[in-house]
């Protein structure tokens, strides 16, 4: 297992694309968060405040993750589909014939890289939110506290967002293993992430809630909520568990097809 881990680590480490994608993920996340925070105009007495929903400064400042996760997903997909594209996978499987060990080693490495990427991305987004949001409206004068991880729910949102990106990476790795082709896998992962939230807005009644409860992105991002937890379709940790189930399920399907077919 240690050898397999080291082998996968060496492969990932020595591809320059890995580092570019990691830097890109952090930059995209923080830039999008800061951009949204700077361009938000919240009127505290407006419709948001009137019906008690209000704004959630923590969730708002982490909005860049919606975009940054796509880069992490591509990084994870490439970790396996690139090997199929170049034929490298046959060498990998010759060196590590046990499919479970190979996939496990990839999963550990990819999840680790995703977590390492997520940490500065989440921290940067929260700092941007803390600095920029008070000018936009959600400031102490309007009853919103400054973003601080000393605040329990904000700490949960920050920690959970890091885990969220790790799970997105594992989900993408699983899909990449099943589909093998870079283009098809990338398209599928991005469709799986971004389409259900769109569909949820277009349907009405209980269907909307059900989609928000089971879609990987909608459910997983529930962890970012710090206000009005009760009105969420799914509670924060339960949402992250749904995403974990997606990731585990996709990795298991990936392992099953990996065992069943030739490389």
């Amino acid at each position: 297992m240690t050898d397999a881990l080291r082998a996968e680590w060496t492969k990932l480490r020595t591809i320059s694309g890995t580092w570019w994608l990691m830097v890109g993920a952090v930059a995209v996340t923080v830039a999008a968060s800061a951009g949204i925070a700077a361009s938000t105009h919240v009127s505290p007495g407006g419709p948001g405040g009137a019906n008690g929903a209000g704004q959630d400064p923590t969730k708002l400042s982490l909005i860049g993750l919606d975009l940054g996760q796509a880069v992490i997903a591509v990084l994870a997909v490439l970790a396996v589909t690139d090997e199929y594209g170049t034929g490298m996978i046959r060498v990998t499987l010759a060196a590590t014939p046990r499919r479970a060990v190979m996939l496990g080693a990839k999963a550990v490495n990819i999840a680790g890289l995703a977590l390492v990427t997520a940490l500065p991305a989440v921290t940067g987004s929260l700092i941007a939110g803390r600095l920029l949001l008070p000018d936009a409206g959600p400031n102490p004068a309007h009853g919103y506290g400054l973003i601080s991880i000393a605040h329990g729910p904000t700490l949960r949102a920050a920690f959970g967002s890091v885990l969220y990106l790790g799970l997105i990476a594992l989900l993408s790795l699983g899909i990449g293993t099943v589909l093998r082709d870079t283009a098809v896998s990338t398209g599928t992962v991005l469709a799986l992430l971004y389409l259900p939230p769109l569909l949820a807005q277009l349907v009405s009644g209980p269907w909307r809630r059900h989609i928000q409860q089971i879609a990987p992105m909608s459910a997983g991002l529930a962890i970012q909520a710090t206000r009005n937890i009760r009105s969420l379709p799914i509670s924060p940790w339960a949402g992250l568990e749904i995403l974990a189930a997606w990731a585990a399920g996709m990795l298991l399907v990936g392992l099953a097809v990996l065992k069943a077919r030739d490389a």
């Binding site: 407006g46 591509v74 991005l190 939230p197 769109l198 807005q201």
Partner: protein, 525 residues
């Protein structure tokens, strides 16, 4: 001599086109992907249409609620209209003239919340700009019938309007007892002409209308109506008329058609969609008549509460976009991956021609997929929505054709743009990432998808300047300058006109293709 032996420029282009088309159609996965994309458009259109149900309540009591939609009248040229007003009329046979002086026009605005049924008790004074009172000729008091009218308005001075969408301006200035307006309508066979005057002596022609098939006997009289404000508050207008004469044109003001006036409160029943304030009515005092009305005579807008034929199309098209982004990327990146690109350039050394031919193939294929899928999906969705009791805004066949062409063009331009991005990046993952982020993510803020008002302006902005502008081609909701209504994204209106939106998307595709051409010319394959 060489021109006889070598294929012509056009011939080489056709050969390259055939080569690319062969490469495309022989990849089974891509053909399956195209079929899948078309199927998703039709499937999700059906599912979304099937999920739409309409019902309404005639009183606050839940037992009065029924499924189905409220009645939206259809105008003479097939468009959805508002036709709710108070008419005080006589029957006039043959040619004739009606003249009246309007001395006051005042109004009341509902002071209750916009989402509650307006009550006549809860009002405040105020006149909306399109409050209307004046003279009207119509063959029938049925809603949606043809008409011509000359009127004073709350904020748009004197107007001559006919058949809901036609409008001409008359004398400027607002009405008061010190500055009354004289109005006149004359009927000569099928032609109705409107005049106005500030003194009843010097008349000025405002406009005229040809109402085809006008019967010999028509209703001629006074009307008042007052539309909801742009905030959705119901209103009411009251106008006083005097010096009223109706008669054959030769007799002029000398004689009046005998018989009593008939008041009708048109289109204000519990099943009519237009929100009114109080009941219309009239009273006679000596020679003058005071008419009170609420409603509108004009085009219907989104407040009529209907769907459009293109409403359920959006989600399926977004799926098709993602599929075509994947295929468009692979069309070029797989050649780089396999080294086939070197063979391609050996066969067609002109880089620009290769790119152009590839763009024609992927663009053509994507257009056919988008257009055929929406041509199937639109009637299907319309049928299902109607069966579920929804009102669907009538759209002419040319307009529906625009949506079908728009759906095809939307998918085609996106596929061509992603082909350019794939050519620049040469890698599938990066091109698809950029393609989805730039061409799909902005649409996720689409009409009806935007949440709090704080993000509404962001959505409007995204649908103006990002490739999401292309979705403007799906816009079918009627808008009119004759109706004060917030034509915003939140109410389902795209911020750009259809073809302007497509032009924005086209600019993105052209930029991507141009950049790809420059990059291709500079580097080795």
């Amino acid at each position: 001599m060489s021109s006889l032996l070598e294929p012509s420029r056009g011939g080489r282009f056709r050969a390259a086109l055939r080569a690319e088309w062969t490469k495309f159609r022989t990849v089974r996965g891509w053909m399956i992907g195209l079929a899948f994309a078309a199927l998703m458009v039709v499937l999700f259109t059906f599912l979304q249409a099937n999920g739409k149900h309409t019902g309404y309540c005639t009183t606050p009591n839940p037992s009065s609620c029924v499924t189905g939609h409220q009645y939206v009248p259809t105008g003479p040229s097939g468009e959805a209209v508002a036709d709710t007003y108070e008419l005080v009329a006589k029957r006039l046979t043959g040619d004739g003239t009606i003249t009246a002086r309007i001395t006051t026009l005042a109004g009341r605005i509902s002071a209750g919340p916009a989402n509650e049924a307006p009550s006549a008790a809860e009002t405040q004074p105020g006149l909306t700009s399109w409050a209307k009172a004046g003279l009207l000729v119509t063959p029938s008091t049925g809603q949606g019938s043809s008409y011509a009218a000359v009127m004073a308005t709350g904020g748009h001075a004197v107007r001559f309007q006919y058949d809901y969408t036609h409008d001409q301006a008359g004398l400027p200035g607002s009405i008061s007892s010190t500055a009354p307006r004289w109005l006149r309508l004359t009927r000569t066979r099928d032609t109705i002409t409107g005049y106005d005057s500030s003194d009843g002596i010097n008349w000025h022609r405002v406009g005229s209308a040809h109402l085809g098939g006008l019967p010999t006997t028509v209703n001629v009289g006074l009307f008042a109506t007052s539309p909801t404000t742009s905030q959705g508050l119901a209103t009411q207008a009251t106008a006083s008329f005097d010096h009223i004469t109706i008669g054959p044109p030769t007799d002029g003001a000398a004689r009046t058609v005998p018989g009593p006036w008939h008041g009708s409160n048109i289109g204000a029943g519990p099943h009519d969609y237009y929100t009114t304030l109080g009941n219309g009515g009239y009273r006679q005092a000596g020679d003058s008549i005071v008419v009170t009305g609420s409603g509108d005579i004009g085009p219907a807008v989104a407040s009529a509460g209907g769907d459009t034929a293109s409403d359920p199309l959006l989600f399926g098209l977004v799926i098709a976009l993602i599929v075509l982004i994947v295929i468009g990327t692979m069309f070029i990146t797989s050649e780089y991956r396999r080294g086939l690109i070197r063979t391609t350039f050996a066969a067609t050394p002109r880089r620009g021609r290769v790119l152009a031919v590839k763009a024609v193939v992927i663009g053509g294929v994507a257009f056919v997929v988008g257009a055929v899928a929406s041509a199937v999906a639109i009637p299907l969705g319309e049928h299902v929505m109607s069966a579920n009791g929804n009102y669907i805004f009538p759209a002419g066949s040319l307009t529906v054709a625009r949506v079908i062409v728009g759906s095809g063009a939307l998918v085609a331009l996106t596929a061509v743009a992603v082909l350019g991005i794939g050519t620049i990046l040469r890698r599938s993952a990066g091109a698809i990432l950029v393609g989805v982020v730039v061409f799909v993510l902005p649409t996720l803020t689409g009409p009806g998808i935007i949440g709090p008002t704080s993000s509404a302006s962001a959505a409007t902005w995204l649908y103006r300047v990002t490739p999401a502008a292309g979705f403007s081609m799906l816009g079918l909701l009627p808008r009119s300058r004759l109706v004060s209504y917030p034509y915003t994204m939140a109410n389902g209106y795209y911020p750009l006109p259809p073809w302007a939106g497509l032009l924005i998307l086209g600019a993105y595709a052209a930029a991507a293709l141009f950049a790809a051409r420059v990059v291709l010319g500079r580097r080795d394959a």
